[in-house]
Symmetry: C2
Amino acid sequence: MKIFVAGATGRVGQILIKQLADKGHTVYAGARREEEIEKNEKIHPVHMNLHSTVAELTKLLSDVEVVYFVAGSRGNDLLQTDLNGAVKLMEAANQAGIARFIHLSALHSLVPEQWPESIPDYYVAKFFSDKWLIDQTDLDYTIVQPGSLEETVGSGKITTNVTGFSKNSIENVASVLAEVLDKTNTIKKLISMGDGDTPIEEAIKNIK
Amino acid sequence: MKIFVAGATGRVGQILIKQLADKGHTVYAGARREEEIEKNEKIHPVHMNLHSTVAELTKLLSDVEVVYFVAGSRGNDLLQTDLNGAVKLMEAANQAGIARFIHLSALHSLVPEQWPESIPDYYVAKFFSDKWLIDQTDLDYTIVQPGSLEETVGSGKITTNVTGFSKNSIENVASVLAEVLDKTNTIKKLISMGDGDTPIEEAIKNIK
C-alpha cells in the first residue's frame, strides 16, 4: 500500500516507517526535517510542515491510501502541532478522498479522570484531536493509545486491556501501529495498550 | 437574573460584572483570585479554578440561570484555561440544567484563513472551544467575536459586519456581552464585532 506517515523523524515514526517498508509498503515519510530520513526504494522523505493549511497538506496526500499521524511536539507546540496539526491532516485526508487514518494518541485520552497529572496540556491536545477524529470526520480511524513510552527493545507482546497505567516499548507501539494497518476489525476503535503477554498479531486480531 | 461570569477579574470581565449588576442582575463573579473583586449587594465573588473537574465546576452553578465565559490566560495556559476550561464550563452548565451560555471568542475564529498571524495558538484554542459549543452541546449559545481589544472608553457604537480586521474598545465588548443576555435573536449566533457607528442596542436587535 501507499502510506503517508506524519512525524517520520519522531521516536515512534522512525521505527514505524522501517517496519512498513519491510512489509513491502511504499512509505511517504513526512517530517519538517525530512533530510534526516534515510531514503531507500520504499521510503520517500517528504517535507511536511504541520503549520501549513489543509489545502497544502492535501497536496502531500495525492498518491496515498492510508495516513498515519504519529507526530508530536514534545510539549513545545501542542496547539498547532499535536492538536491542530492532527486535525488539519484529518481534513486533508478527507479532502484527498482517503478513508483510512491511524492516529497515535495517549492512554485514556477521552477519560479526563484518568489523565496523568504530569502532562495535562498534552492530554488536552489529545482529547480534542481524538474527539475531532471520532465525532467530526467520517474517516475509518484507528486510535492507538499507549501509556508512557520507553526506549526499550520491543518484546512483541502487549496487553490491550489497560485499566490503570501502562509502560510501552516504543518498538511495540510502532509494531501495533503497523499491525492495524489493514485490519478492518480495528476500524472506528480506540486501542489502549501496554507491554504485556499477548503476541501483537493475536492481540490485534482479538480487538472487537 | 442570576448570572455566573467566569473570568470576572479579566479586562472584559471587570466591566461586564459591573454592567450586569447595574442592570439589576445578581452576579456570581468567578475568578481564581476572587479576593480582588469588589463585592456589593449584587456582585458575589466566587472562587473558580478552571483546572477543576466538570463536577467541581457544576457545583458553582447551582443557583444560576446564565453562564458567561470571558476568562483568558493571555497566552499562558491556553490548553487548560482558554480551551478546556471553557469546554468544561459548557459541560458544567449542561449538567446544572442551564441553557444559556455566552462565550467571548475572537474575530473569525472559525475561519483559519482569516486568523491573524500574530497569535496562532490563541486562535486554535478559540476554534476548538467554539466548535465544541456549536457542535457538541445543545446550549443556547451566543458567541461574541471581537478583533483586537483596546483599553479605550466605549463609544457605545459598533459594527457587526466585520470582514477584515477590527478594533474594539473593551467597554464596547462588555456592553455587547451584557446586551445579548436575554436577546433570543442572538441564540445560536456568532456575532463578529468592531467599534463602529451603530448604537449597540440597535446593532444587537438587528442580528438575524
